[in-house]
């Protein structure tokens, strides 16, 4: 699955296939020893929705990280172990960028009413709906953000 650079040893530093996010969460669901929860926002959340629908189309303008939020120490510890420059990043080519609770303020205030949930072993994952994930991106409006919206439209995660 993981693409390799020319040396065929170091994974490309990017996250673009929906299945990468699913594999990561399945793995952490096995690792976690106590119940914990994370909320996934940003392009990692879009990739998660795509994975749930069996979409294989890669995200344009690849990502280098995922942005989870957690209030549980065991999950936070796993996230720290996978931060930038970690063995996790060396193995996967992307890293975990822990976001604070304040990052949720960028979403529409009623996002919890549309959230999706899935259990991976002891790990409970919540992901705001695609349109809510895109809201802060559209506010920012950078080329990459607009490309992610186009991708979400193209893959059917959102409709016009």
């Amino acid at each position: 699955m993981q693409e390799m650079s020319q040396s065929n040893q170091v994974p490309l530093r990017e996250l673009k296939y929906p299945i990468q996010v699913e594999h990561w969460l399945v793995d952490w669901g096995r690792k976690l020893k106590a119940p914990g929860k994370l909320i996934l926002i940003g392009s990692g959340g879009l990739l998660w929705h795509a994975a749930q629908r069996g979409i294989e189309s890669p995200l344009p303008e690849n990502s280098m990280d995922v942005d989870p939020i957690t209030f549980d120490d065991d999950v936070a510890e796993l996230c720290y172990e996978a931060h930038i420059g970690s063995p996790f990043e060396r193995e996967n080519g992307w890293h975990i960028n822990l976001m604070p609770r304040d990052a949720l303020d960028g979403l529409p205030s009623d996002w919890p009413s549309r959230v999706s949930r899935k259990e991976y072993g002891l790990l409970a994952v919540e992901v705001p709906c695609p349109a809510d994930l895109l809201a802060p991106k559209l506010k920012r409006g950078e080329r990459r953000d607009l490309a992610h919206r186009q991708w979400a439209l193209y893959t059917g995660l959102i409709s016009v």
């Binding site: 957690t70 209030f71 549980d72 120490d73 065991d74 936070a76 510890e77 996230c79 720290y80 172990e81 931060h83 420059g85 970690s86 822990l98 976001m99 604070p100 609770r101 304040d102 990052a103």
Partner: protein, 113 residues
């Protein structure tokens, strides 16, 4: 919390979460006290203040009541050393745990004496 950038808010939130659990607190301290940690000395200088900040109920109230004019929420948050997990030595976990278990016993022995 509103005065903090997302990076600072994340540092404060997750340092406080990890500090609450005795096991992850040991791990934090091991990393922060590591001889190669670039902010080890600075942490030692402000250790009491930083530990109070991590343990307090409300960080802003703590700043207002304890830290005085010298510190703001942002500047004290930046005194929390960054977590360089690569310094962590998994094999030390058991011995650090034992040390912590012995400490209260030693304190009790002192009181009895």
């Amino acid at each position: 919390m509103n005065a903090l950038s997302l990076d600072d808010a994340a540092r404060l939130q997750y340092s406080r979460i990890l500090w609450k659990n005795p096991r992850t607190r040991r791990r934090l301290l091991y990393v922060w006290e590591h001889p190669e940690h670039p902010h080890r000395e600075r942490f030692e200088e402000n250790r009491e203040l930083v530990v109070g900040f991590l343990e307090c109920e409300n960080p802003q109230t703590y700043i207002d009541s304890v830290a005085g004019a010298k510190w703001s929420l942002r500047t004290l948050t930046r005194e929390i050393p960054c977590v360089i997990w690569e310094f962590w030595d998994e094999s030390k976990e058991a011995s650090l745990e034992r040390k912590e278990e012995v400490r209260p016993l030693q304190n009790a022995a002192t009181i009895i004496r």
